[in-house]
């Protein structure tokens, strides 16, 4: 398995090549895609991208955790977490691409 990491720069470059916009505007649009997904989630919305996956929210209740190093008990406040459920297509692409 190649150990490569893509970043915003790679997405910006892909959008730049795909659509005839400037590099700057391509970068702004990639940022805008990520920001609108984030904003919707912060508002409590689920974000469903067909053939990619669904970002949804789960509310976790308070519990007593433990510092794994010291074993000390530490309260964990109730919190909201994001879960990503990959679509069938994405799961299939990842499974066949890495087998």
């Amino acid at each position: 398995m190649v150990d490569k990491t893509l970043t915003r720069m790679d997405l910006n470059e892909a959008v730049f090549r795909e659509v005839g916009l400037s590099r700057n505007e391509s970068a702004d649009l990639v940022e805008s895609v990520l920001n609108h997904i984030s904003d919707a989630m912060v508002k409590g919305e689920q974000v469903k991208i067909s053939s990619f996956g669904t970002f949804s929210l789960r509310d976790k209740s308070a519990r007593v955790g433990r510092n794994p190093k010291t074993g000390d008990e530490a309260p964990i406040a109730p919190r909201r977490v994001l879960t990503f459920r990959p679509s069938h297509l994405l799961k299939e692409r990842v499974a066949t691409g890495n087998s």
Binding site: D3, T7, R8, I37, V42, V47, R79, G97
Partner: protein, 94 residues
Amino acid sequence: MIRSELIQIIADENPHLYQRDVERIVNTVFSEITEALAKGDRVELRGFGAFSVKLRDARMGRNPRTGEAVKVESKAVPFFKTGKLLRDRLNGRA
């Protein structure tokens, strides 16, 4: 929010762009991430989160209908870890 709504919001904010181009931009973002993961690469988007591939070991599963034991092959699955900024924002801390 669904993909078409995301495209619509961005199209409304950018009246100088063709809707068709906004569609291509949004689709490119998700297809680039998909292609990267299919190659086993990671995608790290600071503040938003990181997509990676995790390997699940082979295991013995069970057909829930018949109760019969079946071998499940090891496989690669996509995984997303929420970025710190987004995690904080979801909890009203940023």
